[in-house]
Symmetry: C2
Subunit: 408 residues, 2 copies
Amino acid sequence: MALIVQKFGGTSVGSIDRIRNVARRCLATAAQGHQVVVIVSAMSGETNRLLKLAHEVTTLPEAREMDVIASTGEQVSAALTALAIQQEGGKARSLLGHQVKILTDGAFTKARIKTIEGSKIFSTLRKGMIAVVAGFQGVDEDGDITTLGRGGSDTTGVAVAAAIGADACEIFTDVDGVYTTDPSICSSARKIPKISYEEMLELASLGAKVLQIRSVEIAMKYNVPIHVRSSFSDAEGTWVTKEDKSLEDVVVTGVAYDKNEARVAITGVEDKPGIVAELFGAIAEKNISVDMIIQSPAASGDNRTDVAFTVLKTDLARAKPFIEEVSRTLGARAVRYDEDIVKVSIVGLGMRSHAGVAAKMFRILAQEGINISAISTSEIKISCLVADKYTELAVRALHQEFGLSEKR
Amino acid sequence: MALIVQKFGGTSVGSIDRIRNVARRCLATAAQGHQVVVIVSAMSGETNRLLKLAHEVTTLPEAREMDVIASTGEQVSAALTALAIQQEGGKARSLLGHQVKILTDGAFTKARIKTIEGSKIFSTLRKGMIAVVAGFQGVDEDGDITTLGRGGSDTTGVAVAAAIGADACEIFTDVDGVYTTDPSICSSARKIPKISYEEMLELASLGAKVLQIRSVEIAMKYNVPIHVRSSFSDAEGTWVTKEDKSLEDVVVTGVAYDKNEARVAITGVEDKPGIVAELFGAIAEKNISVDMIIQSPAASGDNRTDVAFTVLKTDLARAKPFIEEVSRTLGARAVRYDEDIVKVSIVGLGMRSHAGVAAKMFRILAQEGINISAISTSEIKISCLVADKYTELAVRALHQEFGLSEKR
């Protein structure tokens, strides 16, 4: 007998029929002799409907009250799921964030879980019931309702699994697993049967479509095996687990791309110690995240340098006036912005023990005539910034040349 | 400075515009220097929408889960009201049943309040905020969400007012007060400026349209003055308070009618001690409420009697087979049912000190040629059962002859 957490997203509980389907799946798992804890999101569209109501009242709704409103979506779907399980002949009980109790900090709309008490879940299971926990919500030390941010139900699922020492956390979604790359631009993309937490984190842009990245961090910290799989089939999906020897045999596990960043280039900055620190210190103060940073020694002998970096496109409008002000202070010659870029990355634990992976990546892109405008590397990931018109070409070439198209 | 509880029903918070209106009203009260606690129902139609969802999942949804679902209606409207107050420049905070904490018994869907902690409300008021409490909901000793039954937000309003020692509980509704009779059948009906708790309870069928009867019982027990008034005007409504001398000057305060009862007549029951007790004991066991009871000595000398009583029409179908079984056991000759009846009542504290009120009522009805098929009396109420085709005639005649049509 195992203790299994099963998390179902908004699409999986998007209608009464689908909720019935969820109930049957939970009962099938229970019928195999397992103890089952279910985590549900709000019915698809419901959270948006609720937030729209709040925005009709006021353009800038207070975060505390937003959470009171938004959390009702999961409250309703948890109770409906419990009713559906009862209707199918099972025993079930819904549990809310403040009942479980999922204690968070007080950062409304983006709270972080501090502790989870397991006792209410265990007492429900001991009565032979399936515990249906409302995802996305928690409660702070004042007893105020908090929510964990978009995709927060994944986090609830993994955190609950960690807290009660579950054997696995199954994440049911509308895709059937994590793929070697985006199947919509590369038809030879294949489902990855097993991937490490570290790789999953680095594949964020691929993985975020199926799994909230924060939940992977929690799973890694508490060593909770995650099984990402389809709500609509019984096929095995992708296991996300701690690394083992078998995973290192594969050099590259996946090819990801990210079109959400814009490139900022500041030219002719005076090349003296502390200038770069001043620039990025000031940017960080404005809460603008910077990803890739490249500083190139200027060709001319005038002791000036060029600095380029990427920021999220959604931050760019807010960042522009500020970047220009700092640039003037630093005596820069010009600031240029480029939004027509994509970051293409290869990820794999095997890179650590295989030399020449970066060189191979650059060669593959060069063979396709793709110019690289920035490079960044980590232990298990290499990213190149290229013109976004090359997205498909770059992804397909890397996917093919690193052997991901072959059946393993 | 007074401490005022203001309760707004579903129609009063039925749209974003109306919620804004509620917010302005609360702020106007606060601007007069009062401390304000607001109780809100769910937006009109929302509770039905939620219960329908549950009934789509299963025909007989478990009461516990129903309450988890239904309580979200008030949760959303409380937070929207708090946001609207903030939008209008005020400070406000929503509080849910489990936060306040409104402790109830565990009778899901029809829970009764046991205690209310005032501390969370007081700490909110101390911060200079308006406390917006979700009506209708509570929490039982296990931390499970309960609801108080239809109209439960009135009960929340009065019970919270009692718990925090409020100076008054204002019930805002879509009518502007309690009337001497139903204005839709008697055009000379007038708004009653002041009425006692006892009279309000006896006028249930009139009053239930504007005020949940259970809330009047609580108000009477804790001596909370209730002010029933319109959400859509500033006019004074009806004050429901403890009786005082001025109220006794009026013999009859109101004329009520109730079409919800059916008459059951059992003829030829053996007239010996204990038979009637057996009959009504057995009916009570089935949880069927009996209102008026008339036992008439049979005219013939065969030692048999006729027993008549009224039950709710909604209980009749369920009660019929059972009534017939008991009648057979008692050796009754026949059972007859009459659903075409109405109970017409006059209510007034003044009756206690004025003789001949009942006789006057019978005479008024007789003058109109209306036959009375049953009579019941209490200290401040006289009710007559008549054919329902006479409803308007009887109500108008009583209203006129007892002087209610005149301007006091």
